[in-house]
């Protein structure tokens, strides 16, 4: 059951679910598509994440209750299939400063970490946090480690990182608390490009060890 909650006086947060799950992402993207193609009155924009969608609105035209009434009938009535595209290779040098620590924490060798990380396809769940940051899942259970207890003030652009059941790519240099296991030279963010980011939710990627 979708849940609706005001996020301040100019936005409504639609929570589709509370798990990292392709079926929930499918619903988020379907709702996002529907609202962009047939925007209800007063809606200014949307922003998707794993299993939720933020809808910004013009409070002089509509309100949270009206928008909720506009959206409720869509539940269960959208095609929630994620459009399939080609799997994109992300060439990755597995030389991150936390590779050894992750190996220690998981009981794997560094080679084992690389094999487990590169050995599967990932779904892009969200572009968020910082410009172009690409959240992907799900990570193999054997690679699950918590965020670092103290975040780094500056993580270099292109860092490939893991935390809990997620793996991600820092598109620009930013602070960050994830475990850095590698690095890609693939450019993921360019303010002058349209769109400015390489990936979008629903894309499929694979990390390819670059030795």
């Amino acid at each position: 059951m979708w849940r609706f909650a005001p996020a301040g006086d100019r936005a409504l947060l639609v929570t589709i679910g509370i798990a990292i799950d392709p079926a929930l992402l499918g619903q988020v993207l379907a709702l996002d598509r529907s609202l962009r193609e047939r925007p209800p009155r007063g809606i200014l924009g949307t922003a998707p994440a794993y299993a939720s969608l933020l809808c910004r609105f013009d409070p002089t035209v509509t309100d949270a209750a009206q928008l909720e009434a506009d959206l409720r009938p869509l539940e269960g009535n959208l095609d929630a299939a994620i459009p399939t595209g080609p799997v994109v290779d992300v060439p990755t040098r597995y030389d991150g400063p936390d590779l050894g620590e992750v190996a220690g924490a998981t009981g794997l060798t560094p080679e084992g970490v690389i094999e487990a990380h590169a050995g599967r396809e990932y779904l892009v769940y969200c572009i968020g946090f910082a410009p172009g940051f690409t959240y992907c899942g799900r990570l193999a259970d054997e690679l699950v480690v918590p965020r670092r207890s103290s975040p780094r003030l500056r993580v270099p652009a292109g860092s490939v990182a893991i935390a809990a059941h997620q793996t991600g790519i820092y598109a620009v240099a930013s602070p960050g608390g994830w475990n850095l296991i590698g690095h890609t030279n693939l450019s993921l963010f360019d303010a002058g490009a349209t769109p400015p980011v390489r990936f979008k939710p629903g894309d499929r990627i694979r990390f390819v060890p670059d030795r």
Binding site: P6, A7, G8, A51, D63, I127, S174, F189, A191
Partner: protein
Amino acid sequence: MIEVVDPGRYTTIQDRGRPGFERFGIPPGGVADWFAAAVANRLVGNAADASLIECTATGPSLRFERDATIAITGGDCPEAGLPGWRTEQVDAGSIVRFGPLTSGLRSYIAIRGGIDVPVVLGSRSLCAAGAFGGGFGRPLQAGDRLGVGGLLESPVLEETWPGSHRLPTRGPWEIHVIAGPHRDAFEPSALHRLTATACRVTPALDRVGVRLDTPGLHLDAAEVLTTPVTAGAIQVTPSGGLIALLADHPTTGGYPVIATVTTADLPLLAQARPGDTVRFREATLAEASRAHRRLIGWLDLDA
């Protein structure tokens, strides 16, 4: 042109920001105190989307190569030698030293015509996280030169902006919030306990957000699945502290948001200084909407 002689503490070019790019991880950005900035543009007759200069704690020193019509709003900067909240003429060749702010945290310097820097992704605002916009992709530095644009809309206002139509620039602050959106991540009395607590602004603040301590109160927060967040969102961190987000906030967050500052009171959050006391007050959506409409009405003022 206007030359930056000294940039001050943290001085940037801002306009109303770039909402709509959150899906690319790009913060909405734009002026932190939307009301003071709107008054500054209004005073000099600029279009509402004209870009201006936002300064923080200590203002810049600027050399004006040509005569200019400017207005200063937000926090007071008495060393500038120009009264705030009214239009002033600056002569060609003069240097204005804005100096330290004696109230509030941010001041706005609007120049008739707006600051002419390229629009990137829909806005002239600096996006510090992405190192683009704002003319230089970074805060202003000594030696930067700024052009003046032609974003005019109306004649200058000749009167001083009335004190009755300004927001406070000094604490203690009373800041209204709407509950949620993650109210369910907390026990039922959590928001009530928060609004009963005198929170304290810590020195850890910037355009991304403001960290606040909650003396005598520890809120237990369950981590939530990463969701989109908005300016004004009050996140509760695992240590029990608060982060109230401002314009340059990350587009998504995994800390639960107990409440969200109303649009009308976001300017107060943007002006709070380290050490200030903040009391949050729960408001209904109807109250928030009335407060917002009141400020919009002030901006329509025919002074």
